[in-house]
Symmetry: C2
Subunit: 167 residues, 2 copies
Amino acid sequence: MPQHSEPGDVPAFQDLYPDDFSWCFGCGRLNPHGYHIRSFWDGDETVCRFTPEPYHIAIPGFVYGGLIASLIDCHGTGTAAAASARAEGRPINGDPPYRFVTASLHVDYLRPTPLGPPLVVRGRAREIGARKVIVEATLSVEGQVCARGEVVAVRMPDTFLKPHPER
Amino acid sequence: MPQHSEPGDVPAFQDLYPDDFSWCFGCGRLNPHGYHIRSFWDGDETVCRFTPEPYHIAIPGFVYGGLIASLIDCHGTGTAAAASARAEGRPINGDPPYRFVTASLHVDYLRPTPLGPPLVVRGRAREIGARKVIVEATLSVEGQVCARGEVVAVRMPDTFLKPHPER
């Protein structure tokens, strides 16, 4: 049965990342300066809602494309972790933990994204491999799709496992 | 003769954008919260140097991919403006002013990007059309290419011309 999850109902995917891998500026819950992107299941799709700050603009009145890329990126790696875990019938925070990094990111900016309402990013895992997951995403405002993206996510390589500089 | 420009020597491309189009979080000189990315000619290439903050991380010790995408994006649109102007033998800040927006962005993350040294983004306009410019870019740290990108930039459409919300 599809799982339907909302903020406050269940933890976000990112809440289940191990502490050592929770420092991402985009989605790390432990990064004090970051966006704290949070992603959830919504049936077979994943969803992330984010309201930009007034200064997250490209042109006055429209959202900065770099933020849109960041949301699709982090929601994509989160979706990869969640979809891999679900496909294997195990939790994201099992052992070993699932954490993906981005091998490639593609974003098509279909129309200017208006600043103000929440941005809604929806993701879907198109391919789930042992080490690679391909996620398709849309970013919408009030039901209108403003950007489409694709993230090729790969299981985190060991070369990333360095101590945190603040410790 | 190829022009070689360094910070302090000549204005950055972004210094020549009209005030109304200088609010971008990535590259707008008037955005008080933004990255203030600055791009220059270096022969037939363009170059942008940016030193991330300690919190711009994906994983401890490595740069956040969303920042990398942002740098390639804004350096790409800047390169599009500069290359279009150069191809026509006119300044970026001529009349009408040249300002491009991103139609699509692609980034391949080739290896983890170490945090610390300046990130060096180099761009080159592969195609220069009347309304569309395709820019290829690399992002390197201490001479090693960590990411490659492509930006399809288009001349800013009139629909972007809305008043700034703070005015």
